[in-house]
């Protein structure tokens, strides 16, 4: 039987019949990043030579809009792509969004624990950005943010993950990166921001906080972000347009680990007494 058929739809029609219905030649479009998705399922094995020829001479098109399965496939594909982009991509800047940041940060922290290689988190807040919004309007503000996002992407390496954290805050995860390398990247970005057209006019600059997560850091993801955040505020409080850092070493200096306890001191000195006496009894 020379029929084009779709699985389980229980209906069949010849290709010639299908293609003769001009009103069915409507391509199904998907809006995934502007690309157009066209779907055509024909079981070629079931076609006659005549039907094959028609198929070969026909641009891709949806054969049967009324077919439930096909519609469902296309709809699901569209929906998934849309959900995926909604969930992980920031609409304005097309950077990753904060939801993706949280997912990926866990992955990178796990990688650090496994490999022993530090990773760094860059937290960026623009100084005086509000000026642009207030005096030139939000469209101009958005245009500037898009420019910053592009600049940021250019300043990091391909392995780094750049996210818009919200408003005028940006974050980058730098996998397998020591603090001094992160500082270099941050400084590069700080300089690049000052070169964005309009930045100097509005006195817009970047306050950048960096936190380093080492294999012995006690942080969870939330604390890691907080560390980068507090480094960023430190940079802001020092006057902005600068880079500040946080690592467990600073935590140590700030909070102070327990020093030698009285019990430990006592143990050390009791031991000392015995060797001292030993030495003295030896007549040395």
């Amino acid at each position: 039987m020379n029929r084009a058929s779709l699985p389980d739809n229980g209906q069949t029609s010849t290709i010639a019949e299908i293609l003769s219905k001009k009103d069915l030649e409507v391509p199904l479009l998907s809006s995934i990043k502007g690309s157009k998705l066209k779907v055509m399922i024909i079981l070629l094995d079931n076609l006659s030579p005549y039907e094959r020829q028609i198929v070969e001479n026909t641009p891709h098109r949806v054969i049967d809009l009324e077919d439930d399965l096909l519609k469902k496939i296309v709809e699901l594909q569209e929906e998934n792509a849309h959900l995926r982009s909604e969930a992980l991509i920031d609409n304005l800047t097309e950077l990753y969004n904060s939801r993706f940041l949280h997912v990926q940060l866990e992955t990178e922290m796990a990688r650090t624990r496994r490999t022993g290689l530090s990773c760094c988190l860059l937290m960026i807040d623009l100084d005086n950005f509000k000026m642009i919004n207030d005096t030139r309007g939000h469209l101009e503000g958005d245009r500037f943010l898009t420019h910053v996002a592009q600049t940021f992407s250019q300043c990091v390496r391909t392995v780094d993950i750049v996210c818009r954290y919200g408003g005028d805050e940006f974050v980058a995860i730098l996998p397998s990166t020591r603090l001094f390398v992160a500082i270099r990247i941050a400084n590069r970005f700080k300089k690049a921001v000052s070169e964005i057209p309009g930045a100097t006019g509005y006195n817009v600059s970047a306050s950048i906080g960096i936190a380093e997560f080492t294999v012995s850091s006690p942080w969870d993801a939330k604390e890691f972000i907080q560390a980068a955040d507090s480094a960023m505020y430190e940079a802001k409080h020092k006057g902005g347009n600068q880079v500040s850092t946080k690592g467990h070493y600073i935590i140590r200096l700030n909070t102070g680990f327990e020093s030698v306890s009285p019990e430990e001191k006592e143990a050390i000195s009791s031991i000392h007494d015995s060797t001292q006496r030993q030495g003295e009894s030896d007549g040395i």
């Binding site: 020591r178 603090l179 001094f180 500082i183 070493y249 140590r252 680990f257 030698v260 030993q278």
Partner: protein
């Protein structure tokens, strides 16, 4: 250029005046004598004194690496004792308050330079400043020098504890300096070892001891190393056997 995988060893004590520099220089000389390519780095960034002990007057120091554009290869100098030496500056106040970034810069430069050596000895300063801790982290072997004095034992223990708590390091090699004899050295080691076991939960490694002998202060006064002038003395033999232990680390 031949690239090696150097054993980078930090030498710390907590308390000053325990003999870090003496041990670094003399063990370095024996390591070099055993055919190893050895680099000694004066990591006492504020009050450097290996240059004094060696009687050399360096043109560049680590200070010029941090604040100038001097290449670390131009800072390293050859010594007559067979090892190379990276000096630091003495009395440079700005080197005491180094930023983390500056220490990282030093570590990065040293990391490159170290590729040319079998063993690198980092003579860290006294105390547990940020730079002392960072050099201990940079090293892949940590040596702690102590003597029988209560202050030395307490500071050595405090150093071990802080490095353990900060970086999770739990492998420390102990040298007992100015011991009366081997028995006393072992006793001192056993005691500090038992305290580590009891309070921190890990044992220490006994690397060796150096017996007290008048040839030591005399050699320091004369800016000599034992291997050149007192090779048969008891402390020289002690240094030699510690060096022999460290060669096995490679």
């Amino acid at each position: 250029m031949e690239y090696k995988h150097p054993v980078i060893t930090s030498i710390s004590s907590g308390k000053g005046g325990v003999g870090k520099t003496f041990v670094s220089v003399n063990i370095g000389a024996y390591l070099a004598h055993q055919g190893k390519k050895v680099l000694i780095v004066d990591c006492d960034l504020g009050l450097a004194n290996i240059d004094v002990m060696l009687g050399v007057n360096p043109r560049f120091t680590l200070k010029e690496v941090v604040f100038g554009d001097t290449d670390i290869n131009d800072v390293a100098i050859q010594t007559k004792h067979g090892f190379d030496f990276v000096p630091a500056s003495s009395g440079a106040a700005e080197m005491v308050q180094l930023m983390y970034e500056d220490i990282e810069k030093i570590k990065e430069a040293l990391g490159k330079l170290a590729q040319q050596y079998d063993l690198v000895l980092l003579d860290t300063g006294a105390g547990i400043s940020e730079s002392v801790l960072q050099f201990n982290l940079f090293a892949n072997k940590n040596v702690i020098i102590l003597n029988r004095e209560l202050t030395s034992l307490t500071d050595a223990y405090a150093t071990i504890k802080v490095i353990y708590q900060t970086f999770g390091r739990d492998s420390f090699n102990i040298i007992v300096n100015t011991a009366r004899n081997e028995d006393e050295a072992k006793k001192i080691f056993n005691h500090i070892d038992s305290i580590c076991n009891r309070f921190l939960g890990f044992p220490l490694h006994y690397l060796g001891y150096i017996v007290y002998d008048e040839v030591v202060p005399r050699s320091i006064m004369k800016q000599e190393v034992l291997i050149s002038h007192q090779n048969q003395s008891a402390p020289a033999i002690n240094c030699s056997s510690i060096a022999a232990q460290m060669v096995k680390w490679q």
